[in-house]
């Protein structure tokens, strides 16, 4: 298909991700398949094979190998894209942590899928949040359009000389990866103006510029120097993101803040959410508003660096806030909740009630009734314990399933 002007197509989140890589003029894709990411690598493989994309697609032998190849290629001066999910992220974790420290720009997509054990397919965010502390930057998408747009923005951020870091774009498996939505494909020439072909800002491997990279460092002070550099580079993104998002908005008409404030202005109740389930949250907000309840939603898009200041500001004067974590750190609770606490703690006008909610694990739906129970809990003193979105209905279904297999209800492990 020739791209001469903006076109709208019905695309799955996976196809939108592949289009993002194609429009970005990616040179190199090392790949390894995993459900629900496969459609991305299959699409890119086809495009390299039939000449729509120019460069190389390499089938790797594991995610660990894939991320290593991705990092080394970026260090050798090409624009790199790759994608994974869930167990693949965990298998590649050592490589991801390593290449983040190499300070190489590249973009990877994670299609969220809950982690084993038990092994499953539908999404939650324990996979992507296992990368929370790697220094890889993270953008979380709610829609297929955001997937594509964030990939283009991600390259600008990753390749900025003040950053030089991998950027991850997250989308939910199934809810987004396999859901078709109308997506505007920006004109390729316009994309090229926003994102010119890759010109590395650091020296890259080639014969005329020999160098040693990622050498061993001894002494805590010397080690700290590099780690603090990494932190400062990630912090730079708070400013750079704003600039990139502004330019993207002016060129393509879609403006993305680090967070989205959905009907927040006079909101009394606020749901803090991210990714595709934010759409469910927005629907709940609309419904509650129709019934005279002043609800709003704060959507987290830029997760790393964490925009504390922006979040703190957005939550000023909002009296009842529920942080809905679609993840679980057993023995602690929700992973994002303490980060939101940190963002509001020092503020004079911070929320009165900050409730931790854990829901959507393994793709468990979050329905209207769940939002109502959140409101009820917010009206009381929510306390420190998280509210689990797991009710009698879930338990009944679980028991029914076990009864089919011949277990009695009494035998259930409590």
């Amino acid at each position: 298909m020739e791209l001469t002007k903006n076109k709208q197509m019905m695309l799955t989140g996976n196809k939108a991700a592949a289009w993002g890589a194609r429009l970005a003029g990616v040179d190199y894709v090392p790949a390894f398949p995993i459900t629900p990411q496969t459609e991305i690598v299959e699409t890119l493989s086809q495009w390299f094979a039939d000449g729509h994309m120019n460069g190389k697609f390499t089938n790797m032998d594991s995610e660990h190998s894939m991320f290593m190849a991705a990092g080394a290629a970026a260090a050798t001066g090409v624009r790199v894209f790759t994608a994974s999910s869930s167990q693949g992220i965990l298998y590649g974790l050592e490589a991801l942590q390593t290449i983040a420290g190499w300070r190489v720009p590249l973009v990877l997509v994670n299609v969220s899928r809950a982690l084993a054990t038990p092994i499953t397919l539908e999404p939650d965010h324990n996979d992507v949040l296992s990368l929370r502390d790697t220094g890889i930057l993270q953008l979380h998408a709610e829609t297929c359009q955001e997937v594509l747009d964030y990939i283009l923005m991600a390259y600008r951020i990753a390749e900025d000389p003040e950053v030089c870091l991998p950027v991850l774009v997250n989308l939910d498996g199934f809810y987004l990866s396999f859901t078709r939505e109308p997506v505007i494909l920006p004109d390729e020439a316009e994309v090229r103006k926003f994102l010119p072909l890759f010109k590395p800002s650091q020296p890259v491997f080639q014969a005329s510029q020999p160098m040693a990279r990622a050498s061993a460092v001894f002494g805590g002070g010397n080690y700290s120097y590099f780690k603090i550099q990494h932190h400062l580079a990630a912090q730079n993104v708070l400013t750079i993101y704003k600039k990139v998002a502004q330019e993207f908005g002016e060129r393509f008409g879609r403006f993305y803040d680090a967070v989205e404030r959905y009907r927040l202005d006079d909101a009394e109740y606020v749901f803090v959410m991210s990714n595709s389930f934010a759409t469910k949250g927005k629907a709940a907000v609309q419904h509650l508003r129709k019934n005279g309840i002043k609800a709003g939603l704060l959507k987290l898009s830029l997760l790393r660096p964490f925009p504390s200041e922006i979040i703190g500001e957005a939550l000023d004067h909002r009296s009842k806030v529920a942080v809905i974590d679609q993840n679980l750190a057993p023995g602690m609770g929700g992973i994002i909740y303490p980060e939101i606490l940190k963002a509001v703690y020092r503020r004079e006008d911070r929320p009165e009630h900050l409730l931790s909610v854990i829901g959507g694990l393994g793709g468990r739906d979050i329905q209207e009734g769940d939002f109502i129970s959140i409101l009820q809990r917010l009206d009381q003193d929510p306390g420190d314990d998280p509210l689990f979105l797991f009710d009698e209905k879930d338990l009944k279904q679980f028991d029914q399933l076990r009864q089919i297999a011949g277990f009695s209800r009494e035998a259930r492990v409590s």
Binding site: D61, P210, S215
Partner: protein, 317 residues
Amino acid sequence: MTASILDSVEESKYKKVTDLNPQEEIAPGSALCAGCGGLEGMRLAMKVLGEDTLICNAAGCFTLISVYPFTPLKGSWLYTSMSGPVPAAQGARDALDIRMAKHGLDQKENMQVMVVAGDGATYDMGLSPTSAAIHRNLDFIYFCYDNEAYGNTGFQQSGSSPLGSYTMTSPSTLDHPAGSERSKKDLFGIWMAHNPPYLATVSPREPIDLSNKFKKAKDMKGPRLFICLSPCPTGWGFDPKETHLIAKLAVDTGIFPIKEFVNGKVIHTKRPRKRLPVEKYLERQKRFKHLFEPERRDDIIAQIQNNVDTYWEQYDE
């Protein structure tokens, strides 16, 4: 090949030590142990390969070759992780190819991409990525410095630790007198099963043989794989000045066969005429001391000898 080309290949071969490149590609003064056989092997290899080389290094002893902000190499270096150097070589190779084909990078900027890894990373954790890279026909050189244990962590057992050797995790006890109870994995055989264009074993004690093998491999394409027996004074327990003697005894006893695999055939390039008994090699190293003291373990020594004899019987003329 015509006779004249064969002649010129023969002509260009190194015949004596003074034929070798006098230039050093690795400066002295790294943090590696004195008498490291692996470093000597790599030093000789780099004399042939030259500075337009990117080394992707695995976690191991050679991590200490480049400690920030120093490097003894004229060429390039990328530290990866234990099982990371081969896929890193893939990424770098692919990137150079893309830049030359798509972005007009001058051919002069091309580099030989080379993996350097110890036996732990090679025989164990890195085996799967290497198998995949050979299968993909990755154009690279693999240099395994084989000191037959996890050396950098203080000498623990690896898939390369030979029968009867003591390591920190395979001690010799009353119940387990041999220490390491299994023979080393046949890495040469494993790699050979992938049918790479070139595969060889080399020894720092055979510099002419080593240099000729790297010279041959340098101009070939695809995976070119080297196993370099790397006597390790620290782990094996001998005086650093004896590295060459130990390396020589490994060859002369037939314990370490010097060979290559090319065009579907295995050729022994340095065949010991009359093999010395294995104990000549074993008795000089602390890691085999328990085979001689407090009492001589003729059973284990005989088993080691038998393994060597069985190997060579396959190739008896």
